[in-house]
Symmetry: C2
Subunit: 203 residues, 2 copies
């Protein structure tokens, strides 16, 4: 059964069974139709298993309204609603530093719509930067299979341009100029930590 | 309506309305019957509003099985189950450093049962320490209203003692000796960042 968020996005449940298990499958570079989220989860498992970084996706926030407690079995949630997240989806630690990011994809080719982000998330990114955390977004142009890491400080500039009446998207050229291309890999799939290592001075 | 987790713990939904809003209520020091979670959420809002730290509770992990999409209204989750968390409940950033903790309370007076933690969480704490994150637990003896911050490196020692056949709890004396007493305050309620500031060298 396929589930969807209110915005029509496919709901991809975190798969407990695959976390912490060694993969036997061989990946090919070809587009396997994996979502950005699946690729990032793969990447985070790789980082965790190899002691490179400890980064997790936050659970989908749900407002629970009704729960049944059948005898001798697990509690069943009978009524609940999707809530808007007040933070970004991913965070964790790399060499003691706080890492925080959001990942979004678009079918567009020449620009990335800012409606992919919401006010709460951008506010959260500002708080993270204020606390000197490392904060960024991973932007995927899914039809041309390109992924860029754009630091939150740049995203904020484009966000504020929109708030001041400017364009409601970031052009691909602007992303190329201000962001960093992340090539798709085998293990890990999306090696954003490699880019973070280049961008920030670590001990 | 009061909801409970399978373990009988009260389910306290995150209240979006109260986040980011200034509080008008005056707190008293008397025991207001607030749970540890409520006190920590209050504290985190205080930290956020005052630009001290950016720390959030992760949403309750839920395995979604069935969703209804009524016309012209929000998607309704009709069948879902509570999942065991694979990490600790709280994390965030303070002065660039990664902060990660779990909070637990007991009605016991002389010892803290280790069954309050589960294998996954302890494993996660080990990963955080390996990545040089700041990791600890907040332990509350609710009947005597005492809260201690115990660093994960100490918790691991007691955890491993249990795994090797030793006692299944940490005595209050051991917590006093290895941990740090956090006095209850007004604003914020549980000032754990103040203790972290004392324990760790920051720029």
């Amino acid at each position: 059964m396929e589930l969807h968020y209110p915005n029509g996005k496919k709901y991809v449940p975190a798969n407990k069974e695959t976390i912490g298990k060694k993969r036997e499958k061989k990946w090919s570079y070809s587009n396997r139709g994996m979502t950005l989220e699946e690729d990032i989860n793969e990447t985070n498992v790789y980082y965790l298993e190899h002691g490179i970084a400890c980064i997790h996706k936050k659970p989908t926030p749900v407002q629970i309204v009704g729960v049944d407690y059948p005898k001798r079995s697990a509690a069943v949630i009978k009524e609940a609603y999707f809530k808007q997240a007040s933070t970004t989806d991913y965070n964790g630690v790399y060499k003691g530093k706080y890492i925080d990011f959001e990942a979004k994809e678009t079918q567009n080719i020449s620009s990335f719509p800012l409606k992919n982000f919401h006010e709460h998330q951008v506010k959260h990114m500002e708080m993270v930067l204020q606390q000197k955390g490392i904060c960024f977004v991973l932007l995927r142009f899914s039809s041309i299979e390109e992924i860029y890491l754009l630091e939150a400080k740049h995203l904020l500039i484009f966000w504020n341009r929109m708030k001041e009446g400017g364009r409601k998207s970031i052009t691909r050229d602007e992303i190329i100029k201000n962001g960093h291309y992340i090539p798709l890999g085998l293990h890990p799939r999306i090696d954003y930590i490699n880019m973070i290592e280049k961008l920030y001075p670590f001990d």
